[in-house]
């Protein structure tokens, strides 16, 4: 077998199984042997890349809202999907919830560890203060960007705005619940997830505004 024939073999049969003639050629030709080893290594590395990745949850909400609006999804009353349904879906995604909770735990642990002792009690009282402040700032920046925008709004933008309203409603509910029942772990978990979702939504909206302007 010659180099050219080996090339045709790889093209038609792939890298495995190798024929006896191909094996023989590889044992004699250093260039082809290196090529084979390199490509086999590349394929092995490619197999390690994840074939599946978690998409952000807001994509499904946007798709569903679109499908309800254009009548592809039937049987739901009105154009607007009830907000509590959207949130039930948000928190069904366990990996998102776990990541969000883990993030907040790390942040709170960091805050507690880094603050002087006299400030610890204050941090325990309102561990979300810095998150709320950062989100407010982001929302303020987004409002400024929207004011400066050309005013062209797509269905996706409308859907994102609607989702943001839903998130804000839910955050208000969770905050009220946490204020009334500070020991309610579930409410805290929901609140954490809602903050995470709001951050994602704001970031997506700012990206869109940035690309439109």
């Amino acid at each position: 077998m010659q180099c050219r024939e080996l090339e045709v073999f790889f093209e038609e049969e792939g890298l495995a199984p190798l024929s006896a003639a191909a094996r023989q050629h590889l044992s004699e030709c250093h260039a082809c042997k290196h090529f084979f080893e390199d490509v086999t290594g590349i394929v092995a590395l490619a197999h390690q890349l994840p074939a599946e990745l978690d998409p952000p949850e807001h994509i499904w909400i946007s798709i569903r809202n679109e499908l309800v609006r254009d009548g592809t999804i039937r049987g739901l009353s009105g154009d607007r999907v009830p907000w509590w349904q959207s949130f039930a879906e948000l928190f069904r995604n366990r990996s998102l919830a776990t990541a969000a909770v883990a993030m907040v735990i790390i942040v709170v642990a960091f805050l507690l560890g880094s603050k002087p002792r006299e400030q610890v009690l204050q941090v325990q009282e309102d561990p979300y203060a810095s998150t709320v402040m950062a989100l407010s700032q982001q929302e303020h920046d987004l409002a400024n960007m929207q004011l400066a925008s050309t005013g062209e709004n797509s269905a996706v933008d409308a859907s994102l705005r609607q989702n943001l309203e839903q998130v804000n409603e839910f955050i208000a509910d969770c905050e009220r619940r946490v204020r009334e029942e500070p020991s309610d772990e579930l409410a805290r978990e929901y609140l954490t997830n809602a903050y995470q979702q709001k951050a994602q939504l704001l970031s997506a909206m700012m990206d869109r505004e940035g690309s439109l302007n």
Binding site: Q2, C3, R4, L6, E7, F10, E11, E12, G14, H30, A31, C32, H34, F35, E37, D38, V39, G41, I42, V43, L45, A46, H47, Q48, L49, P50, A51, E52, L53, D54, P55, P56, I59, W60, S62, I63, R64, E66, L67, V68, D70, G71, T72, I73, R74, G75, L76, E89, V156, A204, D207, S211
Partner: protein, 203 residues
């Protein structure tokens, strides 16, 4: 609920069935979009577009091919259309199936020592090089070597022959090797440059 049940219910407009299908295939479609365009914001847009097209046309699905193949075909079309609209240099299918060189034999860097990649590249290098592949090669490589599709499925998704899919995969792998070798050389050059500067400063 089985996939077949979900398709039937979705054809009747059932919300839960649409969600079932989205959850079943969404992670794979998102990974495909992300590897094809290389940025999460575009990948999200494309994924949304692909699923909207799919769900709006679900009434026409007759089951001649697997549902996932149909979905992937739609996704690949949406992605390739977007790439064509952008200013990125996009090689046509014909172009990407042309032989790279007429030298015969696996591509070698003439005049340069044959560079062995084993151990020199990691996933980051690979991801970066995949992004540099022409879209036709990239699609076949991602579908086959990352997502694990067989050539007959890829032929279905891309609307080409099995032979064409095999040939494109081989050329994609060969091109990827070239890109990675380039990257390793570039890295070595940079390291030499840094070492030279440090030596100069020490004197």
């Amino acid at each position: 609920m089985s996939e077949a049940d979900a398709i039937r219910l979705a054809q009747a407009g059932d919300a839960a069935a649409f969600e079932f299908l989205y959850r079943l295939h969404g992670r794979r479609v998102y990974a495909l979009c992300l590897r094809m365009v290389g940025n999460p914001s575009d990948a999200e847009d494309l994924m949304q577009e692909a699923f909207l097209q799919l769900f709006r046309k679900i009434g026409t699905f007759r089951g001649e091919s697997a549902f996932s193949t149909w979905l992937h075909r739609m996704t690949v079309n949406v992605v390739l259309m977007r790439l064509r609209k952008k200013t990125l240099p996009v090689a046509s299918l014909e172009e990407t199936t042309e032989p790279d060189e007429e030298t015969g034999g696996p591509r070698k860097d003439i005049g340069a020592p044959d560079l062995k990649l084993t151990g020199a590249v990691d996933r980051v290098n690979l991801e970066r090089s995949i992004e540099k592949l022409p879209p036709g090669y990239r699609t076949v490589f991602v579908l086959h070597d990352v997502q694990g599709y067989e050539h007959n499925e890829i032929a279905d998704i891309m609307g080409c022959s099995v032979g064409n899919s095999k040939s494109q995969l081989h050329k994609a792998r060969t091109r990827l090797r070239d890109l990675l070798q380039e990257e390793v050389r570039e890295q070595a050059r940079n390291e030499r440059q840094i070492a030279k500067t440090q030596t100069g400063q020490a004197r």
